[in-house]
Symmetry: C2
Subunit: 477 residues, 2 copies
């Protein structure tokens, strides 16, 4: 009755195929009938719900409220902010027919909602007393992408987008920075993914932003992934959408706006940062199942070990626990299956363990097994899960550090194999930024907020004139 | 500095305008730039989140998992179930352009997801061991409606749609019934809206269903609203989308499916069932703010009453409390404003109350005021909120009972003024059902599961032949 184990292509053999194998075989997602679209299956969606929970609590704690704005945006409204239009209109899906009527004006499925939210804010905001407006929306967006990859880049994806309006530039900049901090707490804290916070170069900004702040993470193949972004939009959208307020001094002024977003792409980061040849490895904070209890025993033993497994499962209140007592699968099959699904901790209970009043804990991250007295299991599980959470973060950080180089010349990127983060000096000219991409495929990920161990050289990696910034380059998803 | 109070049209003067006034002025929603679309503002969205919380917990408790399926459905896929197509295709919004490319096949924005979910289930289900499949999705849907009304009927709305597959007809019917029960618990329990559960007549079924179960609620103007529906789909969708499984007996069989949904329309029901000329009246279970504490006092008193208001606010842990100590508004203005927003309970604290060690509780549902010792406020608030929750339900139930008639002839509907629920016998012929609608505007809401106080007559209200069913008729939203 046992089904064949699902094979995963080794990482070293074909990273892309490994990624897709993990995403599909761990049942995080499946491909949809329309190219570029995916289904997020219950196991993957549960991870998203857990991520949502952490983010949403932090959004509320920083004074934000959720709301919902329309999916469809009239073309004329989308077109009001010139840079925004240029950035997004090539990616828009258009509705041209509603029921039996051809629409007089075509409607964009939102690629992001600055435009329609701006139009509403313009109505709602009159006085400085109405500020700040701090609203977030959880929703789907559509961007017509040519090349797609599960979670990382799909035509439709789920995300949240925060949109705020402030009285002063300083407040808006502070907000954009604060939300980058909220993302960092979540991505490093719960997703156990170390990130480099920084600011994008002008060439990599969000279309219409004055500054884009970003979190850059390193995937297991040495490519970078933008984990979340927060934009200081200046008065660009306020002017385009007439978001004005009467200030205390009696002057009519434009508001200062921000927007910030994180998406289901984070699930892709979880796969690529933590996964191994056995499949997923989930940080306990975002694991749908944190502990699987597997009873081991046949015949006369079975009933006793199953009873003990259930007792242990019930004792573990406050954890997300599954007792896998399915008779049709062997323990070995179950180990592999739950390892593939990334469950951080397995508890094995066999007849000998029963006799000795003990259980065996097996960590997914290290494979390490520990024998624990049955009476001590709750404490041990709590401690071990905390250790797995820490361990995954530390392992990812060590990997990133090993994959980070300080370089003096653009050719060093290729010389070093092109994988990882390359720290360098940059003169600030887009010509030099472009040259890096043309010669190496790497892009300027950010101007990092903090230096890593060593300061990069004081000259630009391309023109070798004095550097105005330190910059991090990488080939990216 | 005080803003003008927002005026609400009296219910008795113009019910439709009253409804829109409450929805907009309590800031539940606003109209969007595209006709038929609305924005759900933070206060309204918070109500939705609270409703979601109750429903989602019950979905999980009955074994369901959440997932996410694509927004866009290829036309060919949408068209496979004939009755479904006929029901929905007139309402579909079509995407015909993606980025710069005209699409080879146009894509429907989901009006509901049986079709695309069916296509995925067909891939995922092979064996009886894969059943039941119990999945729910929270999402937006679009139906191109001609006449729209905030929350009740909008072109886009938010909802959840459950989609399940079962091995046997009996299990699927049981599931459809179980979920109707889940809706009833939530709508009656937390929304305090009494409903009549029953089954739709063939003419009122969901397109493609074998049976549609419904909850029918009575609004404040005597019109009915379908609060939630649950569909037993038989094997119709399983056949159209090839959802088959190998049963234990070695036979390849079609699954039996259900679907069930509830939407943001429930917020419309809250307004219309409980609202009054002052605005909203929210049941505490779904009130974003359950208690508002208003300090009353100027000059030297202000500091002391504000401090006490904050102390009381902090003591009320476990409740959703706002302390309204804004200096720029008078207590009277605040009372009106929070009453409009439907906050179930107000606590007033003035200098005299402070001196006497007491607070005043004012119920939104009855207007009743009670003086309570300050030390007793937590207990009193808990009890009073429970009383408001019960009181709103009982008032709505009493209204429905007063508005329910047993009638022997279709003309009684008009004779009685056409408002309310009309219980009657029905022969089961669609001709008689249609005749009721043509002559009175009332539709057959459901064949109720349980009789109200009295059994309706044993003959059809139109043809006067022996009744095969008892039926409830009403003019409906």
């Amino acid at each position: 009755m046992e089904r064949a184990l699902k094979e995963i292509t080794p990482k070293s053999q074909d990273y892309s195929q490994w990624y897709v194998d993990v995403a599909t075989k761990a049942e995080l997602m499946d491909y949809a009938p329309v190219k570029g679209f995916m289904v997020i299956r219950p196991y993957g969606y549960r991870i998203w719900e857990l991520i949502q929970g952490f983010l949403d609590a932090r959004f509320r704690a920083t004074g934000h409220q959720n709301a919902y704005f329309p999916l469809l945006i009239p073309e004329s409204l989308l077109m009001r902010e010139a840079e925004h239009v240029a950035g997004f209109s090539p990616e828009v899906a258009w509705v041209t027919q509603g029921g039996s009527e051809a629409l007089a004006e075509r409607l964009a499925i939102r690629p992001t909602s600055e435009t329609i939210i701006g139009a509403m804010y313009s109505r709602w905001i009159q006085s400085y007393r109405d500020l700040p407006v701090l609203i977030n929306q959880w929703c789907n967006v559509v961007r017509w992408e040519k090349a797609t990859r599960p979670f990382l880049r799909t035509t439709e994806f789920l995300w949240q987008e925060g949109h705020t309006v402030h009285r002063t530039e300083a407040e808006a900049r502070e907000e954009a920075r604060r939300m980058l901090g909220v993302y960092r707490e979540t991505v490093e804290g719960e997703l156990a993914v170390p990130v480099i916070p920084g600011v994008k170069s002008p060439g990599q900004r969000f279309a219409g932003a004055v500054d884009t702040y970003t979190l850059e993470a390193l995937m297991g193949d040495g490519r970078a992934l933008q984990a979340a972004t927060s934009h200081f939009l200046g008065q660009n959208f306020a002017r385009a959408y007439e978001i004005r307020f009467l200030d205390e001094d009696g002057q009519l002024k434009y508001g200062w706006t921000t927007s910030w977003g994180a998406s289901t792409r984070l699930i892709g980061a979880l796969i690529m940062v933590h996964g191994d040849d056995k499949g997923l490895r989930l940080p306990p904070a975002v694991a749908p199942v944190q502990v699987v209890v597997v009873p081991i025993g046949t015949g006369a033993d079975r009933e006793r070990v199953v009873a003990e497994a259930r007792r242990v499962g019930e004792a573990l209140t406050g954890f997300r626990v599954t007792v896998d007592d399915r008779p049709e699968y062997t323990p070995g099959w179950k180990y592999n299956d739950w390892e593939m699904r990334g469950v951080p901790l397995r508890i094995e209970i066999g007849p000998r363990d029963l006799a000795r009043g003990q259980v065996v804990l097996a960590r997914r991250d290290t494979g390490e097994k520990t024998v624990v007295p049955a009476g001590d299991v709750v404490r041990a599980v709590g401690e071990t899960l905390a250790a797995v959470q820490r361990g995954l973060y530390e392992q990812a950080l060590a990997f990133r550090q090993a994959m980070s180089r300080t370089i003096a010349d653009v050719e060093d990127i290729t010389r070093e194999g092109g994988r990882g983060f390359f720290w360098a000096g940059w003169c600030g000219e887009s010509a030099c930024e472009d040259a890096v991409q043309e010669r190496t495929g790497a892009t300027l990920r950010c101007l990092p907020d903090e230096a890593e161990e060593v300061e990069p050289p004081g000259s630009c990696l391309v023109c070798h004139r004095p550097a105005r910034h330190r910059a991090v380059f990488a080939r990216a998803y």
